[in-house]
Amino acid sequence: MDEKAKRTRELLASFYSTDPSAGGGAGVGAAVSPRKMASPDSINSLSFDPDVYMSLLVQKLNLEGLLQKHVEMAAEIKNLDTDLQMLVYENYNKFINATDTIKRMKNNIVGMEANMEQLLAKITSVQSKSDLVNTSLFEKREHIEKLHRTRNLLRKVQFIYDLPTRLAKCIKAEAYADAVRFFIGAKPIFEAYGDSSFQDCKRASEEAIDLVIKNLQAKIYLDSEPIEARAEAVVLLKQLNFPVDSLKTKLLEKLEDYLMTLQDEHKETGASAMDTLETSEPSDIGKLSDTILSLKTPTDTNMASVGEISKIICAYLIIFPDSERRLIELIQDLFTKRYGIIEQRVKERMTSADILKMIRVIWEDVILMDDVLAEAALPAFSLEAARSIIRQFISTSFSHLLLEVSDALTKSQPTPQKGSEESSLQNTLEGSKKAVIQGSLDLLLEFRQLLDDNLELLAKLRDLIVDWVQEGFQGFFQKLDEQFLGLCGRGYIANPISSVIDAVQVDKVQTGLVLVLAQLSVFIEQIAIPRIMEEIAASFSGGGARGYEHGPAFVPGEICRIFRSAGERFLLLYINMKTQKISILLKKRFTTPNWTKHKEPREVHMFVDLLLQELEAVGIEVRQILPQGLVRRHRHSDSTGSTNSSRSNPTREDKLTRTNTQRVRSQFLESHLAKLFEQKMEIFTKVQYTQESVISTIIKFCLKSLQEFVRLQTFNRSGFQQIQLDIEFLKNPLKEFVDDDAAIDFLLKEVIGAAHERRVYLQLFFKFNVIQ
């Protein structure tokens, strides 16, 4: 079938294409030519050569094949013939059809023109008629339009004339939004014609709108109004071109005022709280606060007012969204001031409970505020403030303690009457001991309250507080040491600049005080510090904000060391002061008279009495302060015997006076030798914190000084005898002071020995005077 169709098409193609060489012949030829070359046996190609084809067939096929080909070809030819016939018929048919149509068309066209002309005429007439109608209606339409415009205008005018009443109605109904809308609608007209036609109207409505503005302002100021209404009012005012900013500032000022009054109130309440705390029992707070007019309990008022403030601020935030910064400033200012009040108060002495109370109150407020105004960063701010407050609190507590201790020390100082002095030193000592230990423990207790409190704010400061407390103690004891030094006029050692005044008054320092200081230092070292250390270890361990390389801030070892050395220093100072006093006495005694022209001794010189008096005074002071020590015999006691025999014996002195110089010399050698064999006397042993030790040290020092003074003089016989007499007299009273007979004997003997050595003989006088 396909083949057939193909062939038909080809046939048709060859049929329609009149000239195969022209009209696409080139293309076809070009396309076909290779095929021709390839298959000369293809019958359908344009350059088909029957001869070649024939010869090819003959060559290729046998007879049978040729026959078969023949049959095939014959059939094909037949087919082609019929196809051609069919084509011819069809074409012919078409041609007949076309001729028929043309014939019919010729017939139909006749009479059409007339119809067309008729139509044209009709349309023209319609056109003219329509024009006619249009012109006749034009005037009326114009009129109607004019009337319509007038009516609109009239309605507007009516609206404006009605505006005041309408506004009044709105005001009555408090529909301010409508009123503002109306007024704004009418505003352009008023602006255009306000000066002429609608003058009254304008004035009336403006009055009305003023009223509206006023009402709106009032509404804004009215705290009882719902916030939304107030916010709306502000928006309306803004629409009315009302200067809202001034309004805002005014409102903020109002708020500020409010805060100020609140602060004052707070101050008052704070003060009253202080009063109540100071003057009455905690249970009386309620009663007392009733009298303070509207303030119930201080905390309540605060709570209420801060609640209000937070509400107001909340409202303002909605009303004036752009006022946030100012509000933050205000609030921060408020809290700064409140913390300022506390800080002020911290400068005085107050308990940590008070501090805690105050901080807690503020902290609650802060939390309240923080909900409203998170941007103000109040918690961080408060943390900072609380930090400085607590720090200050701790440091003031310590300085107060320091003051108390020095007060306790100096309080009884200016009353050195003879009668009261008996126990005053003891009282001072006990008082200052108590001041130190009780004060420190109290402080620790206070600080513990700070730590134990569960306030979130303080929890963050915990480590810092621990450190501060430890540092505080360290500093406190160091300062205490300096203060002690200052008290006994030696402040310039520790601090050469600050204690200029103190140091000048070295002479005025009371010796008793020095002794008290010595004993107090021992007390601090042995009892107070371990006790405080325990306390600190129990509740103030940790910290660590300082970093580990610094170690803990409180170093009890160091403090102990400081006070141990301080104690020793004070004790020595006491002894020094006393011996110095006596030494001055002795100096006067030995430098004033001319010993070489001394008269026969008549009685014991009065310096002995003075000396004993001084020692008595020392005894009184020492007995008050220092504990009684164990009776300790001097190590020298076992060698007294040998001393006695070898040293110059006072009873033999008279005999010696007559000996010649040779004798003197040998005696010198003798005493030398004796000294060599004698056990070395240890006069300068370590002083202990006991009555006996201190007194005997002082006496030993005095006797040693006596010996030294004697050595600087030259005596005649009478002078020597005077010394002998005095020393003999001293012997027994001194032994009453000290148990160490041996040492006293030894020293007294030394004195007499020294005097003997410095005793001059008349004949020698002459001799040397001659030489000179």
Partner: protein, 352 residues
């Protein structure tokens, strides 16, 4: 701290003694002069020399001195000249002596008496030589006066250049010539230290509240001096701020009698006292690097000043103390019983 008895002992002094002086002008030997203090015997002046290997103290010369010697100073430019202050009962005097030429024998030849400083009407306390080098100036101090002398040793002449009286109320007891400012001299006056300008002979300044028994100028640094006091032990002062001492050292158990700077290492201070000890201290004088030590007691600076050694091998109070100028690591001490002990401080010098 307790030093073992490492020193060399010279036991030649037969009597009690207070005074020992370094012979500054003797550049060949380390020698000291010591004078005895005996009321009843003829007193002696010993010229003691440290033998060259430094093992022995040899008596180079022994001279009789008529009276007991309370002060003895060696002339800074002539090793054979020295001065003494002496008393005998009520009488007193001050003289300059010359040691006679020694001919190998040391058995007590007489001292050559050069000059008597006999203008004094009070008890003489001490004689001061010009600090170093040859000069004819000499100062003598008695209880109430200060004399400036011009002496001529070769012609045995002395005359008073100027004199200043401190008044009856005061009582001079000692003095020293400022080695840095030759016109300044200081005296111990009851409870204060007074300073005079020799050109005008007027008081220039004073340190109040210093109950000094002895004092010594810092040989290396001007304005600094050290005092030995009964109550306060040893105190270091800066004359530019005389109100407060710069430093304090504990001093001795009883009175501190003498205090001396080492002539070469001025931070080494030697003191002796009536507690029969000699103490060697290390005390850094305040310098430019001292500003930080204003702060608390426990500053490391403070702890550096300390007692280096305590020489305790004495039987009696030690009144005499002298560093050797020739060898600054040597000092001699003299205790009342007449024992001269020479000690070495080399190990402490190195340690600093």
């Amino acid at each position: 701290m307790r030093g073992a008895s490492t020193g060399i002992v010279y036991g030649g002094l037969k009597y009690q003694a207070r005074c020992i002086a370094d012979v500054k002008a003797d550049t060949d030997h380390t020698s000291f002069l010591a004078g005895t203090l005996s009321l009843k015997e003829e007193n002696e002046v010993h010229l003691i020399r440290l033998s060259t290997p430094g093992l022995e103290l040899v008596c180079e010369g022994l001279f009789y001195h008529p009276n007991e010697i309370w002060d003895l100073k060696s002339c800074p430019f002539n090793p054979r000249i020295f001065s003494t202050v002496f008393t005998s009962g009520e009488t007193y005097g001050a003289s300059v002596w010359q040691i006679p030429q020694l001919n190998g024998q040391s058995n007590a030849p007489q001292l050559e008496h050069l000059i008597s400083l006999n203008e004094h009407s009070f008890k003489i306390k001490c004689v001061l030589w010009w600090p170093s080098g040859k000069n004819d100036k000499l100062i003598s101090i008695d209880e109430g006066n200060l004399f400036l002398w011009s002496i001529d040793t070769s012609n045995k002449m002395a005359k008073v250049i100027s004199q200043e009286s401190v008044g009856m109320r005061h009582n001079l007891s000692g003095g020293a010539w400022d080695p840095h400012d030759r016109n300044a001299v200081a005296g111990i006056c009851d409870s204060s230290l007074e300073f005079w300008d020799l050109r005008t002979m007027k008081k220039t300044s004073s340190i109040e509240q210093a109950h000094a028994r002895d004092f010594d100028y810092n040989p290396k640094k001007q304005h600094l001096l050290v005092t030995a006091e009964d109550i306060s032990g040893i105190r270091l002062w800066d004359l530019r701020s005389p109100k407060f001492p710069v430093k304090e050292l504990p001093g001795h158990a009883h009175w501190t009698w003498v205090v001396r700077h080492n002539p070469e290492y001025d931070e080494l201070i030697l003191s002796s006292g009536t507690d029969s000890t000699v103490n060697l201290w290390l005390a850094h004088p305040p310098g430019a690097d001292d500003l930080m030590s204003e702060s608390p007691v426990d500053s490391p600076k403070r702890s550096k000043d300390s007692l280096l050694n305590s020489y305790t091998d004495y039987e009696d109070s030690v009144y005499g103390l002298a560093w050797s100028t020739r060898d600054p690591s040597i000092f001699a001490s003299l205790s009342y019983d007449g024992r001269v002990v020479v000690e070495w401080v080399k190990s402490y010098i190195r340690r600093k």
